[in-house]
């Protein structure tokens, strides 16, 4: 089995796949890649099944060596990856010769970059997934972020990898945006018209205290019509909940599974990967779509991600 050696981990790098849905009743949130679109395309570009485990890097990448060589793809944000002084472009496969190392730096555009390796990163699965859940220290590589000196096993490559090019327009259609589309949340009626207007007309700032559990938003303060006690209930991924102080928090992949704050809106499925590409200090706006539109957009996006013909030239 070949391997990937962590010579320096970068700011926060974890092993992620598409997560482990289905364990809400034991309090386990699905976790998984913050940008599952980038993960899936990156995997396909190295000939993997779309849900194979890869490295998720946050804001700044590290240095990774490949003692036995391999084929990799960098997908998502551009972290200025280099191989022996030569730049490695994102969204295409690169062959790495044995003993070579890939060095990444600070992001040039968005929050997360995926390093996908042909064969995938092989870790012991927890509840059917390789995803790291940082809060509980479960899954992924020893339940934690990568450290210098970690040696991650890489799976066997059984087929020849052919170089493929993204079809024009595909990346543009999936590109991160600063305006996220939302549907009305379960407590939408608790918020007066002026608060709803604030949500859609004003700009929010992603706080430094944002992470895989949630994105805290600074800027406009939101409040319900009156103080109301709410019975804690399940909260979906992408829920925009409002705390008693008026701060909006968007629940993210390592979210608390339940919560007692009212939820004014919810990011749509087709924009969840865009949430994963927001950096601290980025601005974000929200626009409303209907449940029918959101569902149509999701079905269209899933169709695209599951069709090699539509993805690749």
């Amino acid at each position: 089995m070949s391997s990937l050696v962590v010579e320096s981990p970068g700011l926060l790098s974890t092993v992620q796949d598409l997560g482990r849905p289905g364990f809400g009743a034991v309090g386990v949130s699905p976790s998984g890649a913050a940008d599952p679109v980038a993960l899936q395309i990156g995997n396909r570009l190295v000939g993997n099944a779309p849900g194979k485990a890869a490295l998720e890097m946050t804001l700044a990448g590290g240095t990774f060596a490949f003692p036995e060589g391999g084929v990799i793809c960098l997908a998502g944000a551009d972290f200025g990856a280099q191989l022996g002084g030569k730049e490695l472009t994102t969204w295409r496969a690169h062959a790495i010769l044995p003993g070579k190392r890939v060095t990444l730096g600070a992001t040039r555009d968005f929050a997360r970059c995926y390093l996908c390796v042909a064969g995938g990163i092989v870790v012991e699965e927890f509840l059917g997934s390789a995803s790291t859940h940082l809060l509980s220290g479960l899954g992924g590589w020893q339940g934690r972020a990568l450290k210098k000196g970690d040696i991650l096993p890489v799976g066997e490559v059984t087929q020849r990898i052919r170089q493929r090019k993204m079809k024009s327009g595909v990346l543009e259609a999936l590109r991160p945006r600063k305006t996220l589309r939302v549907t009305r949340g379960p407590q939408w009626e608790w918020f007066a018209e002026e608060m709803r207007k604030k949500l859609f007309e004003e700009e929010f700032l992603v706080s430094q205290e944002s992470n895989r559990m949630g994105l805290r938003l600074e800027g406009p303060r939101l409040a319900t019509r009156e103080k109301r006690e709410m019975i804690s209930e399940g909260a979906p991924l992408g829920a925009i909940q409002v705390t008693p102080s008026g701060q909006a928090i968007v629940l993210f992949v390592e979210q608390q599974t339940t919560g007692g704050y009212p939820k004014i809106a919810n990011a749509i499925g087709a924009d969840l990967h865009r949430l994963g590409q927001l950096r601290p200090r980025d601005t974000v706006r929200f626009s409303e779509v209907s449940f029918e539109q959101a569902r149509a957009l999701w079905i269209e996006q899933q169709g695209l991600l599951n069709s090699e013909e539509q993805l690749f030239a």
Binding site: P21, A25, G27, V28, G137, G269, F291
Partner: protein, 224 residues
């Protein structure tokens, strides 16, 4: 029963509008039925006090269709006999370094620490649901006399095994996590263990009792 779209791929099913044993029973019954049936279009189920959040495969169903199907399941769930609850015991070493808020809970309610412990461990609690973190069970209802609001500023790290109170709920922290509940003791048990079946010591629908143990018993149990 009341339905509310929660996201483009999730539906909230409210089985009552209050926290209580009857609504809890309905939640558990519907959850168990949906789990047994392994419903293909359901991606995840998150139960809570009086509701289930159902995440669905939006390629297979929309909200209206999900609602119609859940309504049918709920009708069937009502006819099922109530599942017999498991009785689960959690040993706790109260006070001292393990329960830094025990004295505050006592003072707030005008009781001695010993009385707080007695009130906490003589009740049998419902495990209403698990949430917040893997294995974290919301247990209720705590006696009114020892109810206690959350800390204004949550602790950055609560030690694993901490037994805590918030309002009329009590819980055991399975992992060292941030937390705002009032800490009154600690259990030597591993509340969530990934190599164990079941992984969680407490499951939704269980009846839970706390048993006071000495520091000696805590010490030997945590070594075991």
């Amino acid at each position: 029963m009341r339905f509310q779209a929660a996201s483009d791929q999730a539906l909230l099913v409210y089985l009552g509008e209050e926290i209580g044993a009857a609504t809890h029973q309905r939640v558990v019954r519907l959850l168990h039925l949906l789990q047994c049936e392994r419903v293909a279009w359901i991606r995840n189920i998150q139960p809570a006090y009086s509701s289930l959040l159902i995440s669905f495969d939006a390629r297979a169903v929309d909200h209206a269709e999900a609602q119609a199907r859940i309504t049918e399941y709920e009708k069937r769930a009502e006819t099922l006999p109530a599942t017999k609850a498991r009785l689960v015991e959690v040993p706790v070493c109260y006070g001292g370094e393990f329960g830094p808020d025990l004295d505050a809970v006592a003072a707030k309610n005008g009781l001695t620490a010993a009385k707080v412990i007695a009130l906490h461990c003589t009740r049998t609690y419902h495990a209403y649901f698990l949430g917040f973190a893997p294995g974290f069970a919301y247990l209720g209802d705590v006696a009114r006399e020892i109810a206690m609001p959350r800390l204004e500023t949550p602790r950055k790290e609560v030690p694993a095994g901490s037994v805590a109170i918030a309002g009329r709920q009590t819980a055991v922290y399975p992992f060292a996590t941030p937390g705002g509940w009032r800490l009154i003791g600690r259990t030597p048990l591993e509340i969530f263990k990934k190599d164990r079946e079941p992984m969680g010591w407490i499951a939704i629908g269980d009846q839970v009792r706390f048993r006071p143990i000495s520091r000696e018993e805590y010490a030997w149990r945590s070594r075991a």
